[in-house]
Structure formats: structure tokens, C-alpha cells
């Protein structure tokens, strides 16, 4: 039962990330004119809600299905084409972002949930993601490192808002279902 449960959880969470990308015009506050997709929010939440290992697997599954040809990335993108695009680094970094978010949540067990989720999301969902994304852009676009970094700096404010929202969501899910967040089973 336990193995099946884990498998189903991983798959259904991957489906949640897909659903977040399929929503047309998700009404998240727009920062500096850059529209925010809910999908990177999904990765942060994967790490928070499922923990590092299952979070990683779940996001990796999502990426696999995208690679197989499902247009599930925000804006209806998908297929092998996205792996030949300038944002390939981000996509490859998705599972690792969830992994690190989950690891951070474990480290911050004693901090209150909102703060822990916020910090974890920033470290996993922004720092780690960009650590994959920027080199990916350098490789794909032959821009130099500084240029690539500048080109995607505009996304940072939006990502900070997403980290904040991820923390708020984690809080409200935990309130509705105590004990559901892996790193918070003992407390609460």
C-alpha cells in the first residue's frame, strides 16, 4: 500500500503542476510587466508538500511527460523543442529546485512554517533554479554570463512574490490538513 501511495502521490502532484500551467492567464500579481506563471510556484510547493525525494521525482516525472510531447509547460509549450530552447537550463533545474526546497524544509523544521517555506522557496525555487538556468542560457545563446544573468533579472521580483505565495499556500494547506507536510508531522 505504501509504495502505491507514494507512486500515486508523485504522479498526482506532477498532474497538479501540469494543471497550474494549463490555466490560462493565472491571475498572479504581475511584477514589472513580466507575467508570472504558476508553474515555478508548483516546484516550490512540490518540495514543501512532498519533501525532497518525492518532490524531485514528481517534478522529474512532469518534465519527462513534457519531453514525451505533452504541451504542459506554461503557455502550452512542450515536446523535445523546449530542450533545444534558451530556457532548457531552467527546465533541467526544475527537479533540483524542488529537491533543494524539500531539503531546506527539513533543515528548518524548528522555524515557523511560513518563514521556513518562504526561505526554502527562495533558496530552492530561485537560487538553485537560476544556478541551472543561467548557465543553460549561456550555453544556448552564446551570451556571456553577465549578459544572460541580466536578461533574466527581470524575473526575480516575480519569483520572490511566488515564494511568498508558496509560503501562504503551504500555511493554508497545513491548516486544512494537519500533518500533511512531511517536515511538519511532529509539530502542529
Amino acid at each position: 500500500m505504501n509504495k502505491d501511495r507514494t507512486l500515486v502521490q508523485i504522479a498526482l502532484y506532477a498532474a497538479v503542476i501540469a494543471a497550474l500551467g494549463l490555466l490560462p492567464k493565472f491571475n498572479i500579481p504581475v511584477a514589472g510587466g513580466v507575467p508570472l506563471t504558476a508553474q515555478t510556484l508548483g516546484l516550490m510547493l512540490a518540495g514543501i508538500m512532498l519533501g525532497p525525494v518525492r518532490g524531485f521525482l514528481s517534478v522529474a516525472l512532469f518534465i519527462l511527460v513534457v519531453a514525451l510531447g505533452a504541451p504542459l509547460l506554461a503557455g502550452g509549450r512542450g515536446g523535445l523543442g523546449v530542450f533545444a530552447g534558451p530556457t532548457v537550463g531552467f527546465i533541467v533545474g526544475f527537479p533540483f529546485a524542488a529537491l533543494v526546497t524539500g531539503l531546506m524544509m527539513q533543515q528548518l523544521q524548528r522555524v515557523n512554517l511560513f518563514a521556513a517555506a518562504l526561505i526554502s522557496s527562495i533558496v530552492g525555487g530561485i537560487l538553485v533554479l537560476y544556478a541551472f538556468g543561467i548557465p543553460g542560457m549561456v550555453v544556448m545563446t552564446s551570451l556571456d554570463f553577465a549578459g544572460a544573468a541580466k536578461a533574466i533579472l527581470v524575473f526575480i521580483p516575480g519569483d520572490l512574490i511566488k515564494a511568498l505565495i508558496a509560503a501562504l499556500i503551504a500555511q493554508s494547506v497545513l491548516r486544512a490538513m494537519p500533518g500533511i507536510i512531511p517536515s511538519r508531522q511532529a509539530i502542529v
Binding site: M1, F83, V88, V138, V139, S142, D144
Partner: protein, 275 residues
């Protein structure tokens, strides 16, 4: 401008390696398929619950519950939260008792848990929770694959069943596009294809339209499987062999459907008067 050759070799190498592996593996034969799961002889004709203790959510639900039947059409009634769902989940090992023993046709649901999926078919209340696969044929084929058939064999078996049922055109339909009744029918077929000996139905009628409901009732009466049915609709028990009323984890009444229904209704009426 950076030297792209150095940067791009990494991902490129992966693609090459992956495709090379897939290319070579084509040359290999497909691995020999597992034989169909071996058979165990039937040990008994009865379903037994012996002195079972069960805790749900930290409060005891069943205390020394015992129940036994050999009849092939048995119904289970009771209010929500009475323990019906837990009771039927004991019968296929989804829930294991803290104390006591549950056996189905002589097979212990805990010690021989591996036998249960092939022995006991379970139809859940909501078809949306039960269907695992995106298309109808895959959903049916899964049961055959579970029993050890190869993917191709399983698809053939699934298509054969669909053709036999006169719904061959459903095969590649996405399950999300089916009506509620059609979904439930697919769920039932996907359980029947595994040929279980006991069929448990947990409120299967709640989302069905009239034609599908009548079809399902006809199936329940014509099948040579043992049937255990949970339903709030008391009219479906008309031709049943036995009816059991469960309340707060205890057997309140057990016997011929008419008698049990009369006792049950009387008790409900008494309760509503006191409201």
C-alpha cells in the same frame, strides 16, 4: 564569444548516448515475459471475519467482530460512518485488523495478501477515483497485465471484452470524456476482466443513470461470482440471500433482506421521532 564546442558537448553527449542505447536495444529480443501468476487451490466456500478488533483514527471501530457467510448475494446497510466501508476493506486486505483474522474462501487477507487482488474485485463509489489510465483499453488491459499477460496480450483481451460488450468503439476514448454511467461501466469491466471470485461494490449506484443502474443490477444477479453490495437504496436488495445491518461497528441485524430492512427502517423512524 565562448567556445560553444566545449559547452554543448554535455547535453549532446547525452542525446547520442541515449539514442545509441535505444538503437542497440532494438537488436535484443524483448525479455521473456513472466508467466501467468500461479494458481492456489480453493480452501473453503465461506467468507469469515473472526473476532476482529479494528481501530480507525485512534478510536475503536470494531471490537471482537465476528461474521461468516457462504451466500452468494449479500448486502450491507448502515448509516454513514457506521463501519461498512471499513468492513469491506477488511475483506481485500486494504485494511488489516489489529486483532483477529479475516479470510476469504479460506485465504487469510493478511498472510496471503498477495492473493487478494485477484480474489476480490472492488468497485468504489466514485469511478473517477478508480480509473488509473487515460484511455478505456488501457484501463481494462491493466488488470490482465497485473495477472501476468504481456502488454500486447492484455490489449487483445481488453479489446475482446469490449467487443463482446458491444462497445468496441470505446477502446481509445479518453476516460475523461465518458459519462458517469459509462465510467462506472468501464470500472466494472476492468474489475471483471480479472475474474475475481468475490465482487465488492461500495455504493456503485450513486452516480448512475437508470439504464446503467439496471444493467448493473442485472449483472449482479446473473454473475457466478459472490457479491457483497453496499447501497443506501434498499430496493436493490429484493432478491438477495442475506442482508447485514451495521451500526457503530456492531452487527444490529442479520438475516433475510425483508426482515432486516423492516428492523432498520423501524429504528430510523424511532430516531427521527425523537429529534
Amino acid at each position: 564569444m565562448p567556445d560553444k564546442g566545449g559547452y554543448t558537448l554535455g547535453p549532446l553527449f547525452n542525446v547520442v548516448a541515449n539514442t545509441a542505447v535505444s538503437w542497440f536495444s532494438r537488436k535484443q529480443k524483448t525479455p521473456t515475459l513472466a508467466h501467468e501468476a500461479p494458481l492456489y487451490a480453493s480452501l473453503s466456500d465461506s467468507i469469515c471475519i473472526e473476532q476482529v478488533d479494528l481501530q480507525r483514527a485512534n478510536s475503536p471501530l470494531f471490537l471482537q467482530l465476528s461474521l461468516r457467510w457462504e451466500e452468494s448475494r449479500v448486502g450491507l446497510i448502515g448509516n454513514n460512518g457506521s463501519g461498512k466501508s471499513s468492513l469491506v476493506r477488511l475483506l481485500n486486505g486494504l485494511i488489516t485488523p489489529q486483532q483477529g483474522r479475516v479470510s476469504v474462501f479460506g485465504y487469510d487477507t493478511v498472510k496471503q495478501a498477495a492473493l487478494m487482488p485477484a480474489l476480490v474485485g472492488f468497485i468504489f463509489q466514485n469511478p473517477d477515483h478508480q480509473m488509473i489510465f487515460p484511455t478505456v483499453a488501457e484501463e481494462l488491459a491493466f488488470g490482465c497485465e497485473q495477472l501476468g499477460q504481456s502488454a500486447q496480450q492484455a490489449r487483445v483481451s481488453a479489446l475482446a471484452l469490449l467487443t463482446e460488450q458491444g462497445i468496441a468503439s470505446w477502446a481509445d476514448r479518453p476516460v475523461t470524456q465518458l459519462s458517469e454511467g459509462q465510467k462506472q461501466r468501464v470500472c466494472i469491466l476492468s474489475v471483471l476482466i480479472m475474474k475475481p471470485r468475490l465482487l465488492i461494490l461500495d455504493e456503485p449506484f450513486s452516480s448512475l443513470d437508470l439504464p446503467t443502474r439496471r444493467q448493473l443490477l442485472a449483472l449482479i444477479h446473473s454473475t457466478d461470482m459472490h457479491v457483497l453490495l453496499i447501497s443506501h437504496d434498499l430496493s436493490v436488495y429484493a432478491d438477495f440471500d442475506r442482508l447485514i445491518w451495521v451500526d457503530e461497528g456492531q452487527i444490529k441485524a442479520d438475516g433475510a433482506p425483508d426482515d432486516v430492512i423492516r428492523t432498520y427502517l423501524a429504528a430510523i423512524d424511532k430516531l427521527s421521532v425523537s429529534l
